[in-house]
Symmetry: C2
Subunit: 399 residues, 2 copies
């Protein structure tokens, strides 16, 4: 048999997917599994998007422009303007999800062998896109004690070499839910300017901010317009992950011209997804108010119930719909598998994501799990009771 | 400004797109442009696919399985069975178009620095995916005199080094329309087996075979089951390019396991596209009969009219909806631009793709153009008259 690529073999496996067979087996044994392991929201997609599908008049489903349908990019500019981000259609390339936007950005802005600094824990698939583009991730640990705030700028400076080309953040963060303050972003702006680096910001959870906090976009940082690349997606905003529509946005003309070559090689982003995403611009504010209220209630119940568990600790994140909690366990990979394989409470158990998968540093995250609060409050309550009961009997309990 | 990636800068520009501004300018001057430059068919998408959109019951557009919706992969197996290709759902990864399937295949099967042999002229975007994956394309010229038949196996052997990992073909071919015979494929089978290479076959034009010829798939070559990867797409089959649904197919378990890691990193192929593509399996045979009849008439008129032009020559391809014609011109890039910039016949002109973009060998294809016969017969006739008149006055005419 021909030898498989080294590149393919170094491609990391998704930290969440590896538990799926254990969840499937648990279900076969008749156990109800609460899925807090994935970012697939249960919230309904806005009706105006679904209606757009029913009203499609085209008789040929054609390729769109490689950068995306122009009318969609124009409407998107309206959306951004409402969010105090001022851009033009030429500064947008529509991608097959935020995923493709990240890949295009890495391929455009970094050479194979170049380094990108990312505060960890970070979204695990950044590792996959880094392998695809041949670039090296240099992690900086942010700690649960500080609620996963931005590490000191001096820590970034320690890592900067001649190979460093970019800093990447996710704001608000998957997996921590941490919302960066304007001051933190301005600290990043300074270092980006000083060392002439790219600042790549994944802002797909922009709408999910709590406790009266507002989101500050990297697109509004001054003096580094040519250094900033924004990654966006409609997946979480409208609970429409399956449409696979994201965007790569930058004011740097050379970056966009180069990224367009990658976009043209794959011809076109999905046309149907673009049609419903264009319709999404009409989504009423009441939809977001409803969603935000729902997630706030979910976050509060999860954080409150975890912090009542002996030996457990959970910061109160101000964004996204994730939180990373510290648990009195020896190894989160073992624990999360044990929850599915060997535990149930009244025939119920909970599926969590081991935080190890969100760290690039070996051994980090062993006492932490990521919880996606994408279920209804009643189910979250039952899940947290499950977790509490599990920790009482888990053989690898540490304290 | 931060330095753009070398990778990004070596990414080739699409040979077709660079003429778009000239076509736009011609249209602004009131000139009708016949687009024979692109592979966007004008044929209608089957109604059963469009109806599926109107019947969508889901209220959340969710991620699908990373390999694609299981029911879709099951139905796809029925489609393949009908085409004498016998595979299981686990041997299929649904991708965002044939494009993503090619990228996954290159990333999985080849290391950065590895070499892939491709008979040229070949589909220009293979170059782009090769750059993305960091692999090197080694072209072998097939000649118009032989109707672009498979070059002698001895020519392949001359190119094989320790870095050679794969041979890639497109059958029937974009851009030449050449349909490989079973004997040619068996010759490839032998060399693939002898040197233990991958054989990657892009068969997206499977349905488009003329003159009573039938398509023989690489999936039916014996003894090299683990070496074969099939690239497929619904784009051309159902005239549904915008749905962005393709597939990577292989019986090699290790290849599929590795490719799944790339598939999981980008989470999911487009869900809406999968729903309509599943509905596409119901497309009646009468649709394909109608389409084939239409393209056959188009091919015949194009080939006949070109061969009547003094100094021009066009083989009669047996597949796809492209043909490469030799014209009495100094430089196809200059000629194709001149057609848009400086020529019109009764306020009409024609947009063709210079064949240079389909060759990897510098200087090859200067006297050839690719013609996509994706317009109605009447328009093709007018286009060919335009071409004939243009060649009478083109300043760079060679004979």
């Amino acid at each position: 048999m021909p030898k498989i690529s080294i590149k393919g073999q170094t491609m990391p496996e998704s930290p969440i997917r590896k538990l799926v067979p254990f969840a499937d087996a648990a279900k076969k044994r008749g156990i109800k599994v609460y899925h807090l392991n994935i970012g697939q929201p249960d919230i309904e997609t806005p009706k105006n998007m679904l209606d757009a599908l029913k009203n499609i008049k085209e008789t040929v489903i054609e390729y769109s422009h490689s950068a995306g349908i122009l009318s969609y990019r124009q409407r998107l500019c309206e959306y951004y303007k409402k969010n105090d981000i001022h851009i033009t259609p030429n500064e947008i390339i529509i991608a097959a999800g935020g995923s493709e936007a990240i890949l295009f950005t890495f391929q455009t802005c970094l050479n194979p062998g170049d380094e990108i600094i990312i505060p960890e824990p970070f979204y695990a698939n950044y590792n996959g896109f880094a392998v695809s583009a041949g670039v090296t991730v240099k992690p900086i640990i942010s700690t649960i004690e500080n609620g996963f705030a931005l590490p000191p700028i001096s820590e970034f400076e320690k890592l900067i070499t001649t190979k460093t080309k970019a800093i990447m953040i996710c704001n608000p963060s998957n997996p921590t839910g941490y919302l960066y303050s304007r001051e933190e972003l301005e600290a990043l702006q300074e270092i980006v300017k000083r060392y002439d680096l790219y600042l790549i910001a994944d802002e797909v959870y922009r709408e999910f901010c709590y406790d009266g906090e507002t989101h500050f976009s990297v697109m509004n940082l001054k003096d580094i317009e040519n250094n900033v690349v924004l990654i966006d997606s409609v997946s979480k905003r409208y609970s429409a992950c399956g449409v696979r529509i994201g965007a790569m946005i930058s004011r740097n003309k050379e970056v966009m011209t180069t990224a367009m070559k990658f976009a043209q090689a794959r011809l076109s982003p999905p046309s149907l997804g673009q049609i419903v995403s264009e319709a999404a611009i009409e989504t009423p504010d009441s939809y977001f108010a409803m969603v935000q209220k729902e997630y706030l209630a979910r976050r509060d119940i999860v954080v409150e119930m975890i912090n009542k568990i002996e030996g457990a600790f959970c910061p109160k994140p101000k964004g996204a719909f994730y939180t990373v909690a510290q648990l009195p366990i020896d190894d989160s990979d073992v624990f999360c598998q044990w929850l599915l394989e060997d535990f149930n409470y009244n025939n119920e158990t909970v599926m969590l994501a081991p935080a190890t998968g969100f760290y690039s540093t070996k051994g980090a995250g062993k006492h932490e799990v990521r919880i996606s609060y994408v279920l209804k409050v009643e189910d979250l309550k039952k899940s947290m009771i499950c977790l509490e009961e599990a920790l009482k009997v888990y053989p690898g309990r540490t304290i």
